[in-house]
Amino acid sequence: MMRFIRPRLRKPLLRGIALLGIAGAWVIGSHTWEPAIVIAVVAVGQTVYRYTWAGEDTDESALLGSRADERQKQVGLRARALSGSVAMAAAYIGLVIALAVKRADAWPFAALLAVTGFAYLLGLSSYGSGEPGPEDEVTAGRQARYPVNS
């Protein structure tokens, strides 16, 4: 479906839909419309704003507009990695504080920590890290020539 949407509009639209999801959840949970309408208006506004921003000549705009080159993709990946690390650290700190203050409130932090930890392991396995390939003769010979005895 995403193929039919202009690349520049994809990410702004996805973020807008994500906000609309929050608005919908609000309506279902509280049966009040006013805050949900405000969130919906913000969702539409930020979609238009991000779409405009995606057309500019900056790294952030290129990432937002789905037209990033190799360096910009690398920047995006690093930023995502940082956000993942921060989420993991925040979940851990939250878990520790919740356990110390009120144990019943700790489970969301534990769940978040478990999910981020699992996602990290999934990333390692998905991107091929740690696959023990067979050594060729040259590699094996080189290792034998330079032993490290620690």
Binding site: D57, D59, P147
Partner: protein, 143 residues
């Protein structure tokens, strides 16, 4: 060069210290500052080093700040070639299919291009990758 601090020479070196020394050696080899035979000998020496003194001996005579992340004079080459052709950074970016910011980052040495992009840049300027991104012969001494 991994320099043993005062009185540290006899202390055992960690894996991280050995890796740092290996990075220095690799960077020196890539810049043609070490012949293959000497590189291999020093690598063996670094890998087998147990103490800081032994590690320092393996990297003796090589500047310590030389690392694999440091571009070998590449920014000047790209910038020179571009300005010789009177091209703007935007025009070069468009020709290479990358952003203007990426060209700026490459020229300023803040970003090392991938191998495919390095080939694309070299091909665009009708040069070999070695000429474009290799060590500066004036600095290292022409072979």
């Amino acid at each position: 060069m991994v320099v043993p601090e005062e009185g540290r020479g006899g202390l055992r070196a960690s894996d991280a210290d050995r890796e740092q020394a290996i990075e220095v050696l690799k960077a020196a080899f890539v810049r043609d500052r070490l012949a293959r035979a000497e590189f291999e000998a020093r690598m063996g020496q670094a890998l087998a080093s147990r103490t800081y003194a032994e590690l320092a001996a393996a990297t003796d005579g090589i500047p310590g700040r030389l690392t694999a992340d440091e571009p070998p004079g590449m920014p000047a080459h790209v910038r020179n070639q571009r300005t010789q052709r009177e091209m703007s950074q935007g025009e070069l970016a468009e020709a290479l299919g990358v952003s203007r910011q990426t060209v700026i980052s490459i020229e300023s040495g803040r970003y090392l291009p991938s191998l495919p992009l390095a080939f694309a840049i070299a091909r665009f300027f009708d040069m070999t990758v070695d000429k474009m991104f290799g060590p500066d012969e004036e600095k290292t001494g022409a072979r």
